[in-house]
Amino acid sequence: MSRRLKISIFRHNPRDPRSVPRLVDYELDERPGMTLFIALNAIRDTQAPDLNFDFVCRAGVCGACAMVIDGRPGLACRTLTSTLPAAFSLYPLPVFRLVADLSVDTGSWMRELAERLQTWVHLDAEPDLDRLEARMEPALAEAVYELDRCIECGCCIAACATAQMREGFVGAVGLVKIARFRLDSADTRDDADFYELVGNDEGIFGCMSLLACNDLCPKELPLQTQLAWLRRKMAGQGVRWLRRG
């Protein structure tokens, strides 16, 4: 028998002086294979035409639709309602600036992170495009890809106690990016350079290793091992500097 769902959705438009943050209940009949993408669009089409939420790929690959689903950050588009109780809540991700309702501004946050951590391959010179590409060990290319799969969804930030307390903490998303460029043989930076970027409390030393991020990353990035590894490397780098200093 099909269930009647009751979804309590956070609603607020911060630009409207009359708007107050509130939860609004919406009911609808569950259908087989219903995802939150389908459910939220059905609510928008029939009950709440100005309800804000962000879907782009609706296939779990673009990272746009992260929200707090029944208390846990996750991707709405690939969450089946059948995995949730009949009554549940939807909140926007914390930490990020609220646009309205379930929509938050992850774009500016991630852009700032990229600028701060310089998350691009640093080259000595541009390649000669007429020549053979530089070789890379196949296993290394696969390992870099493994860490490159982050979709900047923000789930790890929403889940992270440090990120909620300390503005400026780069979170698992920032740290895994540093791990990615550190691994990439094309990048000319060394550990001293990376230490400059994340060898502080807004970086790896701010992380309390509680690993909420690791459990919630929808792309199942190996955050636990990468964070531990980066901490060791950066601590080593710090010691080297102390000795030299």
Binding site: A59, S103, W120, L129, L132, P138, D184, A186
Partner: protein, 667 residues
């Protein structure tokens, strides 16, 4: 009212827009990029299978080169493409892959020695060469004679877009997301920028620019079910159409991908079949070899999709609650391969179907996928009708793809075209022709017009229960396109489609909304876009109705022949201001300048009405080849089709391959 000024305004933060922006910024121009969503969430991120470039590193890619890639592309297009563009493209693709490698795309690499693959349903051992070890490898894709598709597992669009997105940050290029270009500012001859709407605050303002580049991707969302991201609503093409000046090319040329999952319509990559996956019917029978003995599952996309539909019409489909479908079997590839090379596919199967593709077959059917048509440009990416307006990527009809795009050629097009158009835009801005006396008055007029349009929508009464509303009209459009402007088309269906769309278009301009505020209002956005989407739908339907032949993805049941005599031409749609329907014109595709004259693609039975010039051109080419025999590749190529001189100088060099090095060619 806010008016901003810049050298280059790029509308779109996908692969094509970002690569164009990087090119222009490196020429020291001021560049602004607009995007509906954070750039890295653009639809490009969802591309899975890979990008074609004739590196020839992998064992099965040996002997590949620009000539082979060019030939595959032209055949794939069913001779509808611009061969000058296809030549430039084949020459540039290896450079583009190599540039991206340097910028951080972790392309899968050749591993020396023996490895097992599945070809035509059987396990085969291939041995990769020592000298290729560590170079970029490639997989097989449909409609290609070599394994040419470079990839990072099945997350190729992701790695490419992240590398380019990060590159744009490195170059300090600003990207404004949640920003929509809602009109082009122009004086009838010269484009001067765009009216921009901030989707969060609702603010309308103008950006005046010496050059405006549309890179807004495809318009798949006018169909009900599509593999496209839900933001792919074609607004870039729509605002170009609204100028009443710019032309849209071949809007009827729409690709249906063989393997989207049922019912969600989410794509699983052609790489599944490239790597050896099979299509099966209700009896578990592998049916493609019955229809296409030679290429089977790896025939060109349009062909495979039609064969699947035919097979379902014969009652061989699987009937399910979610609709009729066929099976894609990648279990034959084994769990290890899937875990490494097809993991996004595995994720999609797990989350949206609840199955494990290493054990279960995937329910698939052909689904709208790609827009070959778009804003018509010349080979430099500029609109021939509206100066200062450029278009690039899926939004453009540059015309690399003609009537059917090969898998892997679109990702390649976005970056190749971005590399070229970035240079041409910069040349234009620096040239005398690019000099522009900005007219703030014109900007004010255009902003005022859009403001009035928005206010008119919010002033209309809210829809009464049961009356038209945005969602119901939209469903009408989607259903019409799916039913009548789909994989197979005919006169009666297309006539119905045009009539229905004209009616919907008129109603969409009267529809009211319930929520009236201007900021963060998805209902207003939908109401504002709907007439524009319907305008694009009309261009596609009317173009399909008028094109009384079958070519590539455009299959007319009532005109099954490819008619080169009458239809070797490109449809150009434009919309006179105030008209109820678009006007169609045609641009000849000249056999006289083809390097590869029209021929048989090799699928099904030959059914072609020949163009009278084809035989003449063939003879002419033969005599050129005879005359220049022994003169070497370059002079011969110049005589056949001189593309090199039309490329920016920095990109004219030959592409190196390991075969060249082995032969001791100078390095």
């Amino acid at each position: 009212m806010r008016i901003e000024y810049t050298d280059v305004l790029v509308v779109g933060g996908g692969l094509a827009g970002l690569r164009t922006a990087v090119g222009a910024a490196r020429r020291r121009l001021r560049v602004e990029v607009l995007s509906l969503v954070p750039a890295k969430r653009s639809h490009s991120v969802a591309a899975q299978g890979g990008m074609q470039a004739s590196l020839g590193n992998a064992f099965k890619g040996m002997g590949d080169n620009e000539d082979v890639h060019f030939g595959d592309t032209v055949r794939g297009s069913d001779w509808g493409c611009d061969q000058l563009v296809a030549r430039m493209f084949a020459h540039m693709a290896p450079k583009a892959v190599r540039e991206l490698a340097a910028w951080g795309v972790p392309w899968n690499r050749v591993q020396r020695g023996a490895h097992e693959v599945v070809i035509n349903g059987e396990r085969v051992t291939l041995t990769e060469r020592d000298e290729a070890h560590g170079l970029i490898t490639a997989r097989d894709f449909g409609g290609t004679r070599k394994w040419r598709t470079c990839y990072t597992a099945d997350g190729t669009g992701h790695t490419m877009l992240y590398a380019l997105g990060d590159r744009a940050v490195a170059e300090g290029i600003p990207v404004r997301d949640r920003s929509e270009a809602v009109a082009l500012i122009h004086d009838g001859g010269r484009c001067q920028g765009a009216v921009v709407r901030d989707l969060e605050t609702g603010e309308l303002y103008a950006i005046l620019a010496a050059a405006t580049v549309i890179a807004t991707g495809g318009f798949g969302r006018i169909w009900g079910i599509s593999t496209n991201a839900i933001i792919n609503e074609g607004m870039g093409a729509a605002i170009a159409l609204e100028t009443g000046v710019a032309r849209l090319g071949n809007m009827e040329a729409v690709q249906f991908h063989p393997t989207a999952i049922v019912p969600a319509g989410i794509l699983v990559t052609e790489g599944c079949r490239g790597d050896g996956g099979l299509l099966r019917d209700v009896d578990g029978h592998r049916f493609m070899p019955d229809y296409e003995p030679e290429k089977a599952e790896l025939a060109s996309r349009d062909v495979v999709s039609r064969r699947m539909a035919e097979h379902m019409r014969r009652g061989k489909g699987v009937k399910s609650a979610a609709g009729e479908h066929l099976w894609l079997d990648i279990a034959v590839l084994g769990a290890a391969h899937i875990d490494h090379k097809l993991r996004e596919v595995k994720d999609i199967c797990r989350h949206f179907l609840g199955i494990d593709p290493a054990r279960d077959w995937i329910p698939v059917r052909p689904t709208q996928h790609y827009s070959m048509g778009g804003i018509r440009t010349d080979h430099r990416g500029e609109s021939p009708a509206l100066r200062g307006l450029f278009a690039v990527g899926e939004a453009a009809c540059w015309d690399l793809h003609g009537f059917n795009r090969l898998g892997g050629n679109s990702l390649a097009e976005t970056v190749v075209a971005g590399m070229l158009v970035g240079e041409h835009v910069a040349d234009f801005v620096e040239s005398h022709a690019g000099a522009l006396q900005f007219s703030p008055g014109l900007a004010r007029d255009f902003v005022g017009r859009e403001r009035a349009a928005l206010e008119a929508i919010t002033a209309r009464p809210a829809p009464a229960p049961g009356a038209d509303n945005v969602a119901s009209l939209r469903r009408g459009m989607e259903a019409t396109m799916t039913e009548h402007v789909g994989l197979f088309r005919n006169e009666a269906g297309l006539r119905t489609a045009v009539a229905t769309l004209v009616d919907l278009h008129a109603r969409a301009q009267r529809v009211g909304i319930a929520s009236r505020h201007l900021d963060a209002n998805p209902e207003l956005v939908a109401a504002y876009r709907l007439p524009r989407m319907l305008a694009l739908a009309l261009c596609a339907a009317q173009g399909a109705l008028e094109r009384r032949e079958s070519r590539g993805a455009h299959a007319r049941e009532d005109y099954p022949a490819r008619n080169d005599r009458d239809w070797l031409r490109r449809t150009l749609a434009w919309w006179p201001v105030g008209a109820a329907t678009p006007v169609l014109e045609y641009e000849p595709i000249r056999v006289e300048s083809m390097e590869l004259p029209p021929g048989f693609r090799g699928y099904g039975t030959r059914n072609i009405v020949e163009h009278p010039a084809t035989a003449l051109r063939e003879a002419e080419l033969e005599s050129i080849r005879a005359r220049l025999e022994g003169a070497g590749g370059a002079p011969l190529q110049a005589a056949l089709l001189d593309f090199r001189a039309r490329l920016p100088e920095r990109y004219r060099g030959d592409n190196e391959r390991i075969a060249d090095i082995e032969e001791g060619a100078p390095r």
